[in-house]
Amino acid sequence: MSIAELSRMARGRGGPKARQKMPDNKPALVFLGPWLIGAICLMIGPIIASLVLSFTNYNLLQPAKFVGFDNFIRMLSDPRLRKSLEVTSLYVLISVPGQLLAALLLAILLNRGLRGVTIYRAAFYLPSLLGSSVAIAVLWRQVFGAQGLFNAMLGMIGIHTEISWIGDSSTALGTLILLHVWTFGSPMVIFLAGLRQIPTELYEAATTDGANAWQQFKSVTMPLLTPIIFFNLVLAVINSFASFTQAFIVSGGTGAPADSTLFYTLYLYQEGFGSFRMGYASALAWLLVIIVGAATAILFWTSKFWVHYED
């Protein structure tokens, strides 16, 4: 009797196939138990509930009332929604490239065998840890207030002004964009890690071929860094669409002045938890998902044209 036959016998009739199709699920169920409960009760359930709620009027007190597409129709003619979309797009379009550009420049500056890289890296990284805290938002309110640090600095170089950068509807968003750019440290660290992956041989070869620093940057560094840029870009876009705390604190929760800092999430919060229009807030949440999803999809589509993958 051959070994193959023996083993077939040992596995029993129809054994092997049944075994393969039905792996032992019990240990997985134990290890995944908490996650499974969370996924069902805190993710899938709420996602479905949010979808259902978006077709209702619900204020927590009275039972939800089905209203069909009313919430979505209302969106079309909601001036504050339009304003919040404008504000958020402007914010994303300026702060994301600004932040990534700063991150990239500093990463390149820090990469070339500099002494004390770790100290610089730490110093530049600190703001991105603090940037989302209420404390920094409080600080920002003061710095860009009428009698704030920024105006005091301007005064020192001879520009005397009493503008409240936070209080002026044409500059308030700018201060928030600046705050976002200020947190360039985390993409910078990712860029630095990416730069280190570029093999030294490429630069050696480029130098032998007579390429100068700029040509090396253009033909070696940039192409090999594009996957990292893309990764950072996707992350930054998703994160900046979800920005909330800074606009909330700086504007006192209102989106003031004149709704110029009314981030989408802030508007969603006001509708859901300020006015308790849970149905409309859910519809707004879904619009956000669609917008972020579309933005990400567009980014992925464009990546074909500029992201360089080695193979």
Binding site: D24, F31, W35, A135, L202, G210
Partner: protein, 322 residues
């Protein structure tokens, strides 16, 4: 020159890129002397490089000062009497006005220690939850075979991308139906359900990097999944666990949105919510106290940053966490 740039992307070079030696810094300009041109102008090139390095350091130090100026200024201003804060943009300490701290500590209905304790409670629970449940889930995804493994893993990844705002309304309704609004539970229970999928993913990646022969050897010795997980893998996962701890600490400590929604009772306020209450309660004349408490609120983050830097950088570099 043009031909150079095209040959740079030629396939043979691309192949060398895949030969990955232990990480090293590409450093051709600063250290490796360029063969022909630099050899001729040896010493002059060296001094030039040295001057360049000095210029670079000066620029970088200036940038560091600019980047950290607001925070340092806040620290210095928190030790100035209110009257001086507005007029003084410098970061040279002039006074040690500790009264801001003592006044700020008690300016709200509860002493600031209450809020610190509340924040710490939520943070510690969140860390425990993430460490336990994310590592368990990661073990299952990385080492076990089970039905619907692929869709489950895909769903886990998708939840990383889903903004909290989509689920916050139904979640709020759920917690309010359960009567748990104005308790810490809505902030803690989700962490014990591995909802921070970032960390699960981080740990899955980490476990995948550990040799499977370890598990198999243990299994031959008669170890079950529990033993393999606790005795073999968990001790090896320390770096991933450290990264998770640090990021959970910082994110939860800084969190504002969820804490504001669920905690409206002043005695349950966390540091974030308390600071916001300062803005509402105080007029602009008490910036000193507000800065003082802002400083108190960021000190834990700065400490964690100083002591956990290694794991922070590792975590960001491998997964792109913020």
């Amino acid at each position: 020159m043009k031909t150079d740039s095209t040959t740079l992307q030629a396939p043979p070079r691309a192949k060398t890129a895949r030969l990955r030696f232990p990480p090293r810094r590409p450093d051709p300009v600063a250290i490796t002397p360029a063969p022909t041109p630099a050899a001729k102008s040896g010493r002059r090139g060296q001094t030039r490089r040295r001057v360049l390095a000095v210029v670079k350091h000066v620029c970088l130090i200036l940038l560091v000062v600019v980047a950290l100026y607001p925070v340092i200024w806040m620290l210095v201003s928190s030790l100035r009497p209110d009257g001086q804060i507005f007029s003084n943009p410098s970061i040279i300490p002039t006074t040690l006005h500790w009264e801001n701290y003592t006044y700020g500590w008690t300016a709200l209905t509860k002493p600031f220690s209450t809020y610190l304790v509340n924040s710490l409670l939520v943070v510690v629970a969140a860390i425990a939850g993430n460490l336990i449940t994310c590592s368990m889930a990661a073990y299952a995804f990385a080492r076990l075979k089970f039905r619907f493994q692929k869709p489950a893993f895909a769903f886990m990844l998708v939840t990383i991308m889903i903004p909290i705002h989509v689920v916050i309304v139904p979640q709020y309704i759920l917690w309010s139906q359960l009567g748990l609004v104005n308790t810490f539970w809505p902030l803690i229970i989700p962490k014990f359900c591995a909802t921070d999928a970032f960390f699960t993913f981080l740990m899955v990646q980490f476990i995948r990097g550990l040799p499977k022969s370890l598990d198999e050897a243990a299994r031959i010795d008669g170890a079950g999944h529990g033993q393999i997980f606790f005795r073999i893998l968990l001790p090896l996962m320390t770096p991933a666990l450290a990264t998770t701890t640090i990021f959970t600490f910082i994110w939860t400590w800084n969190d504002f949105f969820a804490q504001m929604i669920y905690l409206t009772d002043p005695k349950l306020y966390t540091v974030s919510i308390a600071l916001r209450a300062y803005i509402d309660a105080q007029t602009s004349s008490s910036y000193g106290a507000m800065f003082a408490m802002s400083m108190v609120s960021i000190i834990p983050v700065v400490l964690i940053f100083i002591f956990g830097q290694k794991y922070l950088v590792q975590g960001i570099a491998t997964t792109g966490l913020k």
